[in-house]
């Protein structure tokens, strides 16, 4: 009998790297358990009161009273799950209400809800561009964007991060008659920087490329009505598709795409990640719809979140930390550290002091960087932000970074 070739042996280098890191005694940064969650900004982690600064819960909607009540009512009235695809038995009145809320939120003609943000990118990108079409994307695009490209077998052309000239050069060189989709993100989630959408969208128009903007990290927060960087840059009417998620500002789980394209509804019949998976539970779409409607009128919360982000950025910079952006551009502040070892040490020191942030490493990060990624919440108080800065100062000194 032939011996089995172990298909998992290709992961040996990663297994060894992980074992080497854990053997130094640091905690496993990818195995944290939230024992209890008390509010959008506080939890009990490993038995200790912890301030949450790495949850993308930008608008703090996870514990909003109206949102919770809507979810409870839907659970009572419609049950725990739909047990079906959106195109069969899985579209309830709640899914339609959620899509109506999105259309109103964005002032757009069409909205399609997917089961996660990841699936929304997979579903829209793979359906739009196949092997004869070109997708032009920023090299630092999210994994779900790359996976959507791979699923559709599109020709992928990457350009240097946020480089307007590099984008234009590539569009100019591609065959005029070819189908082209340019994919951009409003906020890039690793460094927390925003894209120059005004310039980029104008160039896409000039070369006849359709545009898709992922606003996962900007929805609810950036722009006068929280519609994202597209709104802030004044190009929301010029982009063809906006993709977003319910798992950040909206405070639950799910994904969506909104568009004014007259043929957009056909996506429901051609997008495999829309068709071949179960739809969101009724309680989830009820919480999402309620949250989205409340986010339309959350100007004060948006203003407070900006204050928090600016205060944390300035405070960390003054302490001597190396940050991902020269000023606060979004709800994400990235602290750049030397390597995984130093990152894990700082991450652990912060957690022991009662602060949770994300430790991000390649391949998720650009340029092979290790980052401690902080995401702020509109519910963080001024006092909490000051406490966070004190914890960073103590941990940074303990680890010898500042």
């Amino acid at each position: 009998m032939a011996e089995n070739r172990d298909l998992l042996s290709k992961f040996d280098p990663l297994i060894q790297e992980r074992e080497a890191l854990l053997s130094t005694g640091v905690m496993d940064p990818y195995a944290i358990v939230m024992d209890e969650v008390k509010s959008p900004t506080e939890a009990i982690c490993n038995g200790r009161e912890t301030i949450l600064l790495g949850t993308y819960n930008y608008m703090g909607m996870t514990f909003d009273d109206d949102v919770l009540q809507a979810g409870k009512d839907a659970l009572d009235n419609f049950g725990a799950g739909t047990t079906g695809s959106r195109v069969l038995n899985g579209t309830y009145q709640g899914h339609k209400e959620c899509e109506d809320a999105l259309k109103e939120f964005y002032a757009m003609d069409h909205a399609i809800v997917f089961s996660t943000g990841y699936l929304a990118n997979l579903g829209i990108i793979s359906a739009l561009a196949d092997k004869d079409d070109f997708i032009i994307l920023d090299i630092d695009s999210h994994a779900s964007i790359y996976d959507g490209c791979a699923m559709g077998n599109a020709q992928i052309v990457a350009f240097k991060h946020n480089d307007v000239e590099a984008l234009e050069k590539r569009l100019r060189r591609l065959p005029e008659e070819a189908g082209k989709l340019v994919i951009l993100e409003g906020v890039y989630s690793m460094m927390g920087d925003i894209a120059p959408l005004r310039e980029m969208v104008a160039i896409c128009k000039k070369y006849g490329a359709m545009t898709l903007v992922d606003e996962a990290h900007s929805m609810g927060f950036i722009g006068e009505n929280g519609r994202g960087v597209c709104e802030e840059a004044g190009v929301i009417d010029d982009v063809d598709f906006i993709i977003g998620t319910f798992s950040k500002s909206v405070g639950t789980v799910g994904g969506f795409c909104v568009s004014n394209h007259p043929k957009f509804e056909i996506m429901r019949l051609v997008s495999r990640p829309y068709i071949f998976t179960a739809s969101l539970p009724p309680s989830v779409v009820a919480t999402a719809a309620t949250s989205i409607r409340k986010l339309m009128h959350s100007g004060n919360k948006r203003a407070h979140l900006w204050e928090n982000s600016k205060t944390l950025h300035k405070g960390l910079r003054d302490l001597g930390f190396n940050l991902g952006t020269p000023e606060a551009q979004s709800g994400i502040i990235a602290v750049i550290v030397e390597d995984m070892m130093q990152g894990a040490m700082l991450w652990q020191a912060l957690l022991k002091n009662g602060l949770y942030v994300n430790l991000a490493r390649p391949p998720a990060t650009p340029h092979g960087m290790t980052l401690l990624r902080c995401s702020l919440c509109a519910e963080h108080t001024v006092g909490q932000v000051q406490k966070i800065l004190n914890m960073f100062e103590a941990a940074g000194k303990e680890v010898g970074i500042i």
């Binding site: 020709q155 992928i156 340029h367 092979g368």
Partner: protein, 80 residues
């Protein structure tokens, strides 16, 4: 000089600034193995080649290119 030779000379000249270890280049020289380029170096280098020849090398094509000879062939075919 055939177009292939001219392309080869140009491609090799573009590699040199990224050839930190001073490897002698042949068609069989691999980018990941011999030149030890990481993904970041590859990205910068591909941009140089694209700008120099005024072409686009898709990521799908890049995935198939492992050595210098394959790159020269690809550039030639794109240059038509």
């Amino acid at each position: 000089m055939s177009s292939n030779e001219a392309t080869a000379d140009k491609v090799k000249a573009l590699i040199e600034p990224f050839n930190k270890k001073g490897i002698t280049l042949s068609n069989d020289t691999t980018f990941a193995g011999d030149l030890e380029w990481d993904s970041l170096t590859v990205m910068d280098f591909v941009a140089e080649v694209e700008d120099d020849f005024d072409i686009v090398i898709t990521m799908n094509m890049q995935a198939e290119i492992e050595n210098v000879g394959q790159l020269i062939e690809a550039v030639d075919s794109l240059n038509g």
